[in-house]
Symmetry: C2
Subunit: 436 residues, 2 copies
């Protein structure tokens, strides 16, 4: 049997502690499967005295991830600290500078410094694996980086934030408000005390940025992503969606258009009978459309200590199974130096169907006026419905429109024109419909 | 750039011709992604004069796959001939004997000789890749062999035959008979002229046998699989399923039980609102349940020249990206020599819910008799419904039972006892319900 693969793990939190536990419990089988033992040589975290329920006897403790990455006698540095900069970044740079292979679950770091780190890794002949960084346990990085080699991807989209999907699922199933469901998600540990990063869509955007690069070969460009979170989604929207045969999901979508690559994160209506509409709770899903393979959809756990550690372990095992000196698999699908500049498609040029919910004063001519404003902008309607659940003379009415595929620009102009008419009682709600 | 990867392709049919086309059209990009060119050196098929719509100029023609595998100056032998023995087998053996890497899409060959071929490959330090052999373009082999390393799989199940899924989908959507849908599948080229291999479940069994080995580490044992095809499924079953909140799919299922590994292929009721129930037409799906990762589901095209060629290309690219001398990834997930004997669980001990449809004479006491026979065998019922769409005095009645989880043995005994009562007008229909 070959020499053991020596690894150092920085970060012993939710993911790191799970990983240590699994590596220790399954060390014999892993040695058989991988053809050599995987040995934890060194670890690092902030608080040395904290009881993590794992046995660290015989493992060298380093006070900082950077020290571990710089000094430990290891083959692979595993970064499970988190954060786009600081210790995580410094340590990964230090490891790559020594030519060590790196495994990380850190989407923030990759979304910010991915191209630079990939370049260093490739120059050094080191591997940089990051399956856990996007959609947790779902092997979407491997699918894009390896299985789809040679394919031209046209669109990639997915449910990549468990917190948002949990909230939307619960709002629908139990008819509760956004706020109530967010509180429940926090109580169950699905949402952070400060949930903004999840519910505003930033977390999804980081993951989408990484997938976009793997799919289309452009440099990572997380700041260019159009962003709308789910804080604005009401029970009324969810119910109206269901009545129209849709379900609302927070999707990250990247697609090739004539004017460039569209990258967007927003609440989206997907057909009720589509596979992705069935993806409930904290589960994630990613769909990839490509020209040779066709459409591939993967569904699975997007977070959690074990599911994430499983992806990290897969990355480590890939390194263990290859032999030293075997340089493989460009980090971002293509050699980092061949990645192209990101060419951004204008969101105004986005084409698709739209759901528009308007709350209007109960006055004559409103319905006709709305229909006229849509027609003025050449928007063709699939349906327009006016309703008032319980008819009360003079109370506000709800008008719901569903459009055929049209340009975002036209929608914006039409909605603006409608707003100018002064019969709206509250802000109009506009939700994009995604073909799945 | 490193030396080019020289490949020989035997079989230029649906898959082989697609592969040649893609390799030629995308040669520049592939060279960039893989870090070296992929060069087709040699090909082989039966009929040299046949126009395949591909340009074979400059490529050496061999009259037999075996000759190609034995003599061509290549690094990788790609087998796209098909068949469990004969030329395909001989050629793969010849290639491995020379230490060549092999890529194949041949499930029949692997289901029969997989363990032996894996052993030879590992002894020779050669790679044997076969992503396309199961569920076409869906990267399920990679998921099991690489991503899930370290996980203990408890169950794997899937829709792995497009012909059957097409027929079942069409029967439901259009209310047509099995025969009518099979004819349509043949007209569209989804089903062979002799469709037995697909509709009797044998094709699914081959694939399941391969997945079982990857999931559980046992030797491949295709002959031990319990088999029921879809020829017996009627529109009435499909409609009754829908009314009860189920959809009928032909599933291959392998799971660990106390008495061994259950491997079975049969029509199955899955909950209407499950993700897998939404998998329509020729699309395939595979679900994997494991202890660290949780549940992973992959959905995609299970056949077709391009989708299958995409998987073959991924396998070739994996070899191109690794450097010579790099031995990796045990062929069947674990080193072939460490695979265990297959321990078969008795089908009689299968536990699950059952759907039973009985057509009975319109006579007093039948309903009570059926309920009593079930109770005699300790089968607890979720529902029992008697109905006659249009009531005609004396015409046969339909009785539909759905059981709670129970033993197959008890069901068989109860059904036998009911048959002995002589009030059945036709054979009872029994369909297993699968928890998804
Ligand atoms: N949790 C998930 O479900 C999940 C899913 C996908 C990806 N990820 C990614 O996985 C990574 C780890 O996530 P996690 O949930 O395991 O985080 P966590 O529970 O907060 O653990 C972070 C670990 O890093 C250590 N650490 C933090 N800052 C440090 C510093 N400046 N110096 C040294 N050590 C430091 C902490 O030490 P102490 O323990 O001493 O405080 C802790 O052990 C992140 O990049 C995250 O985005 C997580
Ligand atoms: N088609 C799919 O969608 C699909 C999906 C998954 C896996 N697969 C697998 O892929 C493999 C190829 O399938 P396919 O659909 O491409 O089959 P195919 O269209 O029937 O092509 C078979 C090729 O092999 C050649 N061939 C057959 N017998 C031969 C022999 N004795 N000596 C030399 N050449 C011989 C044929 O030559 P001629 O052209 O001269 O007759 C033909 O080029 C099979 O193992 C199949 O199970 C196929």
């Amino acid at each position: 049997m070959a020499d053991s693969l020596r690894i150092g793990i920085a970060g012993l939190g939710t993911v790191g502690a799970s990983l240590v536990r699994i590596l220790q419990q399954r060390s014999n089988e892993l040695a058989i499967t991988c053809g050599r033992a995987i040995e934890i040589i060194a670890v690092s975290a902030r608080d040395r005295s904290r009881d993590r329920g794992i046995d660290l006897t015989g493992i060298t403790w380093f006070d900082t991830p950077e020290q571990l990455a710089s000094e430990a006698e290891i083959d692979v540095f595993v970064e499970l600290v988190g954060g786009a900069s600081g210790q995580a970044e410094n340590a990964v740079r230090a490891a790559l500078a020594r030519g060590l292979h790196v495994v990380t679950a850190n989407k923030a770091l990759l979304a910010k410094h991915g191209v630079e780190l990939a370049t260093i890794a490739e120059d050094k002949g080191a591997l940089l694996n990051f399956e856990a960084a996007v959609a947790g346990g779902i092997p979407v990085i491997k699918a894009l980086r390896e299985s789809l080699t040679g394919n031209h991807v046209s669109r990639i989209y997915g449910i990549m934030n468990g917190t948002c999907n949990y909230i939307l699922t619960k709002m629908e199933k139990e008819g509760l408000s956004f706020e109530a469901c967010l509180k429940e998600a926090q109580r169950l540990g699905y949402a952070e005390a400060d949930p903004a990063f999840d519910i505003e869509g930033n977390d999804t955007a980081h993951k989408l940025a990484i997938l976009t690069t793997l799919a289309f070969g452009n440099k990572i460009s997380a700041d260019d992503i159009y962003l709308e979170g789910i804080t604005n989604i009401s029970s009324e929207d969810i119910q109206a969606a269901a009545e129209l045969g849709y379900r609302i999901k927070l999707l990250g979508v990247a697609q090739v258009t004539e004017s460039g690559i569209e990258q967007r994160v927003h609440p989206t209506m997907v057909p009720l009978d589509s596979v992705i509409a069935q993806v409930d709770g904290v589960t994630n899903a990613v769909a990839i459309e490509s020209d040779i393979l066709g459409e591939l959809l993967m569904v699975g756990p997007g977070a959690g200590g074990n599911a994430t550690a499983s992806a990290v372990l897969g990355d480590i095992a890939d390194i263990a199974k290859s032999r030293p000196g075997a340089q493989q698999v460009p980090v971002l699908g293509r050699p980092a130096k061949s990645l192209t500049e990101y060419r951004r498609a204008k969101m105004k040029s986005h084409e698709g169907g739209y759901f528009i919910r308007l709350t209007v004063k109960d006055q004559a001519g409103v319905f006709a006026s709305i229909a006229t404003r849509m027609a003025d902008n050449n928007i063709s309607l699939e349906s327009i419905v006016q309703r008032q659940r319980v008819h009360v003379e003079g109370a506000p009415q709800t008008i719901i429109l569903v459009t055929h595929a049209t340009m975002e620009d036209a929608i914006r102009k039409a909605v603006k024109a409608i707003k100018n008419e002064k019969y709206l009682v509250s802000e109009p709600q506009v939700i994009r419909i995604e073909r799945t």
